[in-house]
Symmetry: C2
Subunit: 330 residues, 2 copies
């Protein structure tokens, strides 16, 4: 393994494109190739200088790749792909089905340990950086309450749910944190907040001509789990406006912990971590790449098995010596 | 070493009191004793259930203590104390003279390695949690700018500087971040900010009768390094008002990184970490205690030498199994 981290990207959607862009920002990284299940000749890369290969050629390129970044989906791709590829490579994924992380961890851990590879799963911001910050804050303030807010940003899952309604051509759903609720938390009031009090949902929808928009609105705002517990606003716009105004994928959010210290727990201490992202997929890709560096270093140290962001010391993420880190960051 | 972390506190000022209070919030922690250079009979503890010993008795209690938390000052106490005590104990300190951290690290590392002990230095929030967050943010967004703001909070150093002026009885200096500057950073404007544009300083001062307050004000606002580069306001108050309104030690601050991602770096991504603390020393104490837990675990794993917060994976800080951490935090 050389000083340069040789990266392979598996899957080329928004996330894969983001990883490709991020590699060019890190001068210790090199992109070996993009691997796809599609016909490679049909995949047009957004940036220069990389080659596209069929996923089946991966096995032959084992010795040319230090770490694979798996850019598939959590529903069906990653549960199968991460443990399989961990048998031959150090791997990173962004598996984000929260409830299934323990199960995924166990499967990946078995594969990675048997092959003496390092796998880091559930990397990104939620799960990922939000998890980290909850961990630090809970460790420091054992007596306290956690709050999470998401947005303002596009929820792909909610947008897809609207798109499945008959007569809907396109939709974009923004999750918006309620400022009054946030203000109460920041003021140390320790409020008990219902789902409705924390977020509102704003939907931009393009419909076919002649569709009964009142009926569509009713179907959206009463949709169980997705919308029924929220105050939801629906706005109908043209396909042109959708393209012009709602093509990017901003997101973000905040995790806060409001804790108490002192012999009588008389002092309030508030820790807040906030992300404000123009591009959700590009940010997630950048997190994946930082942890890819860590996976290589851990592997070089002889470690193996499945890890999460909770298991990685910050020093492993940086392209800087430990001495430089201490003198510039501490 | 037992499942309970047996803690010793060295030094009993604001920080030592904070550690004592924090121990009672962590059910895996036990306070063995407070160790002081003063006559132990003259030290009155703020909380119940702990004993005060003279520092000289520490050597006899080697086997009863898992980790020592050193609550001395960075100017003269810790440079001598941390390396000396690391010869017999796992130790944690909050050494915060930024420029001298590499030197302190080297001295402590030599001692701790020779004795096969773990030492974690410069623990707290700045250096400490702010360093961590800069590390994560720089690793994720290699192309970007860091911003640090402090306050609103009491700066002990600046308060002390005013107290040294002839005719001044007491003083409290608040550092206040400039909202307009913060707003520009949060809006992704990447401003270049001078010292004066980032913070203002507000001083409450009690003077002796008959003192020329205009002269004192002039001496404060022109004081090199401490005040001359800032817009400073000075308010004269009574000793009673000082006691009533300015006895607590709030502090806090924000570190932000404004970075760019994408093939043309066209997207702005902003990471913000914010602390809002009613009690600066109690919060620092709580951070020290979380890292004390980590030091014990690392020592049990057979590690040794000097570490900083950059070297510690978050998992070591929590009083929770790795499985519980994954299912509750990820």
């Amino acid at each position: 393994m050389s000083a340069t981290v040789k990266v392979g990207i598996v899957g080329y959607g928004n996330l894969g494109r983001g990883v490709q862009a991020a590699v060019s920002q890190n001068d210790d990284m090199e992109l070996v190739g993009v691997f796809t299940r599609r016909d490679p000749s049909g995949v047009v890369l957004a940036g220069d200088g990389a080659k596209v290969y069929h996923l089946d050629t991966l096995a032959e390129m084992k010795n040319q790749i230090d770490v694979l970044i798996l850019c598939g989906g959590s529903a069906t791709d990653l549960p199968e792909m991460t443990p399989r590829l961990a048998r031959d490579f150090n791997v990173i994924d962004s598996f984000d089905t929260h409830a299934k992380i323990p199960e995924h961890f166990a499967a990946v851990d078995r594969a990675a340990k048997a092959a003496a590879k390092v796998a880091i799963i559930s990397v990104g911001w939620d799960p990922g950086l939000f998890s980290l910050n909850k961990a630090y804050a809970q460790a420091i303030l054992p007596s306290g309450t956690d709050y999470s807010f998401w947005g303002t940003g596009v929820s792909q899952g909610h947008s897809d749910a609207i798109r499945r309604i008959k007569g809907v051509i396109d939709a974009r759903q923004y999750t918006i944190p309620v400022e009054e609720a946030l203000d109460k938390v920041r003021a140390g009031e320790n409020p008990q907040l219902t789902t409705r009090e924390k977020h509102t949902r704003l939907c931009y929808v393009v419909v076919e001509e002649g569709v009964d928009t009142e009926a569509v609105t009713h179907e959206i705002v009463t949709m169980p789990y997705y919308f029924d517990e929220y105050d939801t606003e629906v706005r109908y716009i043209s396909a042109e406006e959708m393209k012009r105004e709602h093509s990017s994928l901003p997101h973000g959010g905040m995790v806060l912990r409001s804790g108490r210290t002192g012999f009588a727990e008389e002092n309030t201490q508030i820790i807040e971590y906030k992300l404000q992202l123009d591009s959700n997929p590009e940010f997630t890709s950048s997190v994946l790449l930082a942890y890819a560096r860590a996976a290589c270093r851990l592997s070089q140290e002889g470690q193996c098995g499945c890890k999460t962001v909770l298991d990685i010391a910050p020093t492993y993420l940086l392209n800087k010596s430990a001495e430089d880190q201490r003198s510039s960051l501490l």
